[in-house]
Symmetry: C2
């Protein structure tokens, strides 16, 4: 009769079944480097045969990693991130990976904490959708020994594979589009160019478009927000009080564009008849507002799936690519922008 | 001279420093039940003193749990969940816990997988915001040995502490509000009452309100969706073709209400002049639409913080409460509902 029947098998049962010492089993479970591969296999087979159920942590120690992908986002409540998390989830799931999401929520110290957490739980790979980053984080990421992909962000100094659009050209195209509709007082509701490379690139593209059209940049028409609806609403209030009032506003997220649009309508003006509003992202929100947002389409489903594929190539041992993948953006015309009256 | 200087201390260094065998250290790391507490403390002290850095997994084995809270949601892209995740994050963070979010994404098999994953990584506690649940999940949850709180959901057969509003009364109040505005053809865009207790309770409340007002329930005015914007849009299309056409629509999520509102406007009708639309949740989206949604306010910030507090009480060893906490809802009047013309 099997001595282990009716109770949970213990580590010593595994040891005796594999014909090795408890110390050896423990070494296998702890990923000790000096265990021969055949011993490792024998122990794994005994674990399997006995139905020994160490925690999945212990199992992941045997396999040296899990089928988990850790995802770090700036703001889980933003429509861009909730949309792209849906596409990452789908792509990861199709490849047999589960995702765990952690949220920086404006607290940069959390990023290092989550990276360490993910390393500790031996995730197979990490997707970072967040910038900026600190020197401590850069050093840690470089030493972490876990495949990492940066998606929709450009944390300075990280040389990991990345997936982005060309943010400078995208913003250039958006501002050129508004100028092409006859607008000259084109405001920007942007982000902090000092902290965020992506925000600076978009600002540069906006400036380049204005310069090409011979429009002098007016600092009073540039507002800095943090990509949330409330910011768009508040900053649009300031823009309505500038003189001359802008006839078009380019907001660097759909959330800020939606907030700006609401402010315009709440003050009794019309979008787009009185003021054109353009967004950025083409998140799920962009087609939900009325008027629906004219915006810069980021290929969110592709960004998600390509980030996952690139990460899995790294996980499966292909030499980590350091290339930066640039996907194509395009302008999506909906109903929030019109020719200047 | 310290023999361990200049290299990473190994498990045998810890053993020799603590005056115990490697097997004993390994037992401590593996949470073996027969290690005396003083030995455990001695080993932990040596780990600390040497700066031995087992993975944080190993450290969590010493401590027997982590400072992680696992959160399981139905749909990370829904505005209700992205709003409440923000509040859970904030409450958990204030107590020193990090949260990891996993997303069921319509795939019920994922729930068991994530529960096992969370158990394996020794999270301190789990918040489940998802129903329905299967017999396998109920059995697993009952045996998991980790504090668990159910939030904004009523998975049948789970007797864990829960945090909800009174969904029946909330829907009763909403339908009564619409009836009070003179509407009699009040449609419901609901959820699957067979699968979802919450959807059934809200349906019951809607029916009770109609009955009290002497309004005969018309099955043609009840549509079943899955809480997403697209469903609201599509089902509203069907409702616009029913005869008689409803003059008011009560949607069981703000997302579906926003979709329904867009459909009405896209077909050239006005909200609320031609059709009143009422939502449910008071998620961030509710005040972002124009007209802004009249809706059932769920106290989302409180649901998040009370779920976290209740969970932490369980984690800190208070006898797990089996009480169901019911928080107060209220009707928030904005601009999407009007008196019947």
């Amino acid at each position: 009769m099997d001595k282990t029947a009716g109770r949970h098998p213990k580590i010593k049962d595994v040891a005796s079944s594999a014909g090795v010492s408890v110390t050896t089993v423990s070494r296998v479970l702890n990923g000790h480097p000096y265990v021969r591969e055949e011993i490792r296999a024998k122990v794994a087979a005994s674990i399997e045969a006995l139905g020994y159920s160490p925690s999945s942590i212990a199992r992941s120690l045997v396999r040296r990693s899990t089928d988990l992908i850790g995802v770090i986002v700036s703001d889980i409540t933003a429509s861009f991130f909730s949309t792209i998390l849906g596409s990452i989830e789908e792509a990861a799931s199709a490849k047999g990976y589960a995702i765990l999401v952690s949220n920086i929520a404006e607290d940069p110290e959390k990023e290092l904490r989550y990276l360490k957490l993910f390393k500790g739980m031996r995730v197979a790979g990490i997707i970072v959708m967040h910038e900026p980053t600190t020197a401590a984080i850069r050093r840690y990421a470089a030493s972490i020994g876990i495949p990492l992909v940066v998606s929709s962000a450009r944390p300075a100094g990280l040389s990991e594979p990345s997936v982005n659009i060309d943010d400078e050209t995208a913003a250039y195209d958006a501002a050129s589009y508004l100028a092409g509709l006859g607008h000259r007082a084109i405001a920007l509701i942007g982000g902090d160019c000092e902290r965020l490379t992506t925000a600076r690139m978009r600002y540069d593209g906006y400036r380049r478009a204005l310069a090409e059209k011979g429009i002098e940049a007016d600092p009073a028409l540039v507002k800095v927000g943090d990509f949330k609806t409330q910011d768009g609403y508040m900053l649009m209030g300031e823009l309505l009080r500038t003189s001359p009032r802008p006839s078009a506003v380019f907001a660097l997220s759909d959330d800020m564009a939606a907030g700006a649009m609401n402010r315009v309508m709440d003050e009794g003006l019309r979008v787009p008849e009185d003021i054109s509003i353009m967004g950025f992202d083409d998140s799920a929100l962009a087609s939900m507002t009325r008027p629906a947002l004219t915006t810069v389409h980021q290929p969110i489903a592709d960004i998600g799936s390509i980030s996952v594929e690139s990460l899995i190539r790294g996980i499966e041992g292909d030499r980590p690519s350091t290339e930066g993948i640039i996907l194509r953006h395009r302008i999506v015309e909906r109903a929030s922008c019109a020719r200047k009256a």
